[in-house]
Amino acid sequence: MSGLQDLYREIILDHYRAPRNRGELPVPPAHLVEGFNPLCGDEVVLYLEVEDGVVTDVKTAGQGCSISQASTSMMSAAVKGKPVDDARALIRAFKALMSIHESKLEGAEETDLSADLEGVRLGDLEALQGVVKFPVRIKCATLAWNVLQQGLDETAAESEA
């Protein structure tokens, strides 16, 4: 099961079995955002507290496969207490790790993903790199990050309004 060991690294299974930052935050002041993977029914719910440009608290709920839920857990641990700018850099870096070229369809030159990865410490998140070998599971891994991105965008829009 060598391919499987790449996909289901021990640290991923650890986050799946003992997810970090599970729970809820009062809304408001926290911002609630959810995302679904319509193909397999994965659900990620994120409670996001952003103050003065810093992600002060994160809680997660939802259900889904080990990859989606482990990715959610790792994401919450990685961005909690971090400046929003750092969180956005992590989102870009994580998508680069998943080999997602955001501009590929627009006919642009293939973007250099290493630029997005440079200077960003992925830590535990690197364990998710094995997902790239299983293309249909990439959506499971990126769901939490898309939800985070949406949450950060929405809180930014709210604070401007």
Binding site: L7, L39, C40, G41, D42, E43, S66
Partner: protein, 415 residues
């Protein structure tokens, strides 16, 4: 083939399906996803290849020899498909892209011409999205009311309140077999009650038509939708069977070539049925392939197919219960008598998607997800299940391979 139900010689059947000779991850391919799409026998591949190599031309247009041959093959396929489901008039078979398009054809043509605001459509909680969303769209547009037949704890239809649900209904749109739980629906019984209430009857035959003998007149249906790709035929073609008098009265669905008798700058006259509903160049080779697929199944005999599905499903249900007991929840009716060759299940602690991934490592192909039946999944209270489904080419060794692969998945994710 004798007239009585005979036992299927699965080894001989397997030899007819070239894809079954390949391996996955070094393991024998164990294909258990026929409810999603079935594999194709050599006879289907050869028929499609032959039409392209020897007789390919557009249909119903040219007068030259190969155009005549292509047209004859295309229309012969229509007749085969009609006979396969007990239709007596091949004009009652409209070729569509798939079953989804067949149901949409009824929703866009018949329903928009016949249903008004407040009219009632009755569906069930077993339905596939293909038999749900077209009616949601109609509700948004026309303000029709949708009522739902509930299900029991073992995912059969709960018919206690059926007469109230059917009261004033214009259409009952119902699956003949659930694609998630395999539940076989008593279509004839439901249709009789729907008719008594004055409703028309549409049947989603996607799962039933490939797995059991189907007679649209015995069902007393008005519309039956089914696809080719679950029927051992190619994807890209399906069929709507409808009573000729209904098709005659229905307005065209899509406009274009083939579906017209005459076109002027002022308007058009539609073609006769069924071509009135077949705008544009159809999927010619696919129709021929679908005809070859029903030939193949008819040579086996649908009673034999059903007996095979039933025996194999019971074997698999027993094997799963023996090995995993309460740790594995199996959905649907308890025995194989009331279910087709479809088994949905869930381990308490392992997500369906992860199970599917691990068993793929063993060459076992099963579906994980909501199976395009989210209303049913909500009733089950789960986001996803893993589903194994059987075709004529599956045998006990495949069911055993599933059980062994699931045991590996359980061990892999053991806490």
């Amino acid at each position: 083939m004798s007239a009585t139900t005979s036992t299927l010689d699965v080894a001989r059947i397997q030899a007819d399906f070239p894809i079954l000779a390949r391996t996955v991850n070094g393991k024998r391919l164990v294909y258990l996803d026929s409810a999603s799409s079935a594999q194709k026998p050599e006879a289907v591949l050869a028929a499609m290849d032959r039409i392209y190599r020897e007789s390919y031309a557009n249909v119903h247009r040219g007068v030259y020899t190969i155009a005549e041959e292509a047209t004859a093959a295309f229309e012969a396929a229509r007749t085969k498909v009609a006979r396969f489901i007990g239709a007596t008039d091949s004009r009652e078979i409209v070729f569509t892209r798939n079953a989804t398009e067949a149901i949409n054809l009824v929703a866009y043509s018949w329903a928009r011409a016949n249903l008004r605001e407040g009219d009632v459509i009755v569906l069930s909680h077993l339905e596939h999205h293909a038999n749900v969303v077209p009616w949601h769209i109609l509700r948004q547009e026309r303000g029709v009311e949708i009522r739902w037949i509930p299900i029991t704890a073992d995912q059969r239809l709960d018919l206690d309140g059926l007469d109230d649900l059917l009261d004033g209904a214009k259409l009952l749109a119902i699956t003949a077999m659930s694609n998630v739980t395999g539940t076989i629906v008593d279509v004839a019984g439901l249709a009789a009650r729907a008719r008594a209430a004055g409703a028309h009857v549409l049947v989603d035959g996607c799962q039933a038509v490939p797995q059991m003998p189907v007679d649209v007149h015995a069902w007393d249906a008005d519309f039956v939708a089914f696809s080719s790709h679950k029927l051992l035929g190619p994807a890209g073609i399906g069929a709507l069977w409808a009573r000729a008098e209904l098709l005659e009265a229905m307005p065209p669905f899509m406009g274009g070539g083939e579906m017209i008798r005459d076109v002027t700058t002022e308007g058009f006259l539609p073609n006769d049925i069924p071509w009135k509903f077949e705008a544009g160049t159809p999927a010619i080779a696919e129709a021929v392939g679908m005809g070859a697929a029903v030939d193949y199944l008819q040579a086996i005999g649908m009673d034999t197919v059903r007996a095979h599905e039933r025996a194999l499903t019971q074997y698999a249900l027993d094997a799963l219960a023996d090995r995993f007991g309460d740790r594995l929840t199996v959905y649907g009716p308890a025995g194989a008598d009331d279910r087709g060759g479809v088994i949905s299940f869930l381990f308490d602690e392992i997500h369906a998607h992860d199970v599917s991934q691990v068993v793929d490592e063993e060459g076992v192909c099963v579906r994980a997800g909501h199976h395009c039946a989210k209303p049913l999944m909500r009733q089950l209270g789960v986001p996803a299940t893993t589903r194994a489904s059987f075709g004529v080419y599956n045998d006990r060794a495949d069911a055993d391979a599933l059980v062994e692969a699931l045991a590996k998945a359980e061990a892999f994710f053991a806490i």
